[in-house]
């Protein structure tokens, strides 16, 4: 496996402070390697988005990062902790090193500015010396790259279809050739045909440009198909992390296997669907021990008292007493 780009170490994120605080991310450690697609899955509310925003310090109030480190390894130079950067350094770091594509493209694009303005102002902010013409040329190039005719440069977001807007966002994310692209449910609002088109394009671009991707979705079949490794989150923690194929074939954590047993397959023989009983935990009143134990069909003695830690097992890690023992 290649060297890491981003190492998240013991990240903790709260919403609010004091007694009101909701611990949305607890002690999460995760490593993204150069050139890979890391999938992040889990039920809704499990903290996937919080993790993505937290590691870039983009959480809106009342989000607070209460601990941990996010070590970034630049292509050249020494690694540094993103969470310790000053505001100015952070501004320079953003987009140039990590770019983010959000869930709703309509909401991610400013409705009152032309997309050309929104593409070029990144360039202006990060490279003030660049000339107007070369900025435009670069923007045009990026649009072509994501399959949009450059003559749509002067369109406003609402004049583009949902898929085109999403592709503009991807183009914008790549315009500074960042090392890492974080994608938070980039295709859930689109239908399957469009979804495939966009993801296909992304994979192709990644092969050409060599950036790494953190890909967040709760559509497991999509993840299994598109990512190299998958991390499964539950209740603010990562419960399992493994190569995609490995998880699909043989999930170690009962929650992961529950998830995998919940979606019907389109092809092949009709599978039996198991589902997961119960409903996701309330972050304010987390069960003791393993937070999944009240829903776990295989729960046993230590599960309700001790929190399992994510421990490596070969090329995968899992946090479950079942595997420990």
């Amino acid at each position: 496996m290649s060297e890491p780009v981003i190492e998240i170490r013991n990240l903790n994120v709260d919403y609010g402070l004091g007694d009101q605080a909701v611990h949305a991310i607890r002690d999460v450690s995760l490593t993204l390697h150069r050139g890979e697609v890391l999938g992040l899955a889990g039920e809704s509310g499990s903290g996937k988005s919080t993790l993505a925003y937290g590691m870039t310090r983009l959480l809106p109030p009342p989000g607070v990062i209460t601990g941990g480190e996010v070590i970034y390894h630049p292509e050249k130079g020494d690694p540094y902790d993103v969470l310790s950067l000053t505001d100015r350094q952070l501004q320079a770091f953003r987009w140039a090193e990590t770019a983010i594509v959000f869930q709703g493209a309509m909401n991610s694009l400013n409705p009152v500015h032309k997309i050309s303005t929104q593409l070029t102002d990144v360039l202006r902010a990060h490279d003030p010396k660049m000339s107007e013409n070369s900025r435009n040329a670069r923007a045009r190039e990026m649009l072509k790259l994501v399959g949009i005719a450059p003559d749509r440069m002067d369109a406003y977001p609402h004049q583009l279809s949902g898929g085109m807007r999403q592709r503009v966002m991807i183009g914008m994310a790549l315009i500074l050739q960042p090392q890492v692209v974080i994608m938070d449910e980039p295709t859930t609002a689109l239908d399957v045909v469009m979804q495939r088109q966009i993801l296909g394009q992304l994979v192709e671009l990644r092969e050409r440009l060599g950036f790494s991707v953190i890909f967040i979705t709760h559509d497991l079949s999509l993840l299994v198909e598109f990512s190299n490794r998958i991390a499964i989150m539950y209740g603010g923690r990562i419960v399992e992390e493994a190569p995609a194929a490995a998880i699909y074939r043989d999930a170690l954590h009962p929650y992961s296997s529950g998830l995998l047993g919940s979606f019907p397959a389109l092809r092949g023989p009709r599978r039996e669907l198991t589902g997961i009983p119960g409903s996701p935990p309330d972050l304010k009143g987390m069960p003791s021990g393993c937070s999944f134990h009240p829903r776990c069909p295989k729960a046993f003695e230590p599960c309700s008292s001790k929190i399992p830690v994510l421990t490596p097992h070969g090329d995968r890690s899992v946090a479950c007493w079942l595997v420990e023992s």
Binding site: L58, L90, F93, R94, I100, F102, N110, A125
Partner: protein
Amino acid sequence: MKYFLQRVSFYLFTAWAAITLNFLIPRMIPGDPVQALVTKYQGQLSSQAIDSLYVLFGLNKDANLWEEYVSYWKQLLTGDLGLSFTFFPTPVSEIISSSLPWTLLLVGITTVISFLLGTGLGVLAGWRRGSWTDGLLPVTTFLSSVPYFWLGIIAIYLLTGPDSFFPSSGGFDAGLVPAFDQYFIPSAIQHSLLPALTILISSVSGWILSMRNMMVTVSSEDYITVAHAKGLSDRRVAMSYAARNALLPNVSGFALSLGFIVGGTLLVEIVFSYPGVGFQLFQALGASDYPLMQGIFLIITISVLVANLLADIAYLLLDPRTRKEG
């Protein structure tokens, strides 16, 4: 075409109904201009004058309401607003044209300044929440609730006087003749400072508050987060992303407030003896001067309708989503 006609007829209907009401309402006032005039002079005008005044004002002939209404429309359509009673026999149009500029300049400029200032402060207060700007809010809330005529009177008392820079009343120095020269303009500006300040203080907070709230709302939009994620400078995010979008609802509010310029600041003009339309209206009310009232109402009606139109156009210009697809 049918749709267009529908819109137009809707506007025409509104204008017609408003103008008709404007015609009827002043006539609900009991008494007549002659009596009002005699009463105004409280004995200085002998009651022997009454008969001659009826003849003078042309009120000695009986006309029923319907005939008056018909002739009112005839006049209106020929652009004639009739003669004022208060200032008999000055035509209403002359009175309005001599006082409207004052109102438009004083209240208009003040409204614009108030909007710009309020919006600017609102942007600051909304963007830099938690800083000193938070202190702005209680003060402005309080000021916005102060009756502005009260504020104006206090300002006159505290700030004007024999040696004060601020004149206590009027639109310009009594010794001057209105002209665009180096004497008149500074004097007009000097005279407008206090009334403008009064309006400004009591109206600016409305803009601050609404702009701040819009900023707060817009700040949590995804595209703001994206703008931050793009590493843009704080200033650029605040202005080009947050403020630019937060401005939209305020702009139509602003256009509408332009429509209320004419009718909205009656008391400031009264308190400061400012030669504007609001004050004329107030005088007309006291004098049962229907033609003048109607004329001013007409101006107000038209300006509100035009302001509505402006609001639409402004929105069209500022929000590409409402523009026609290209």
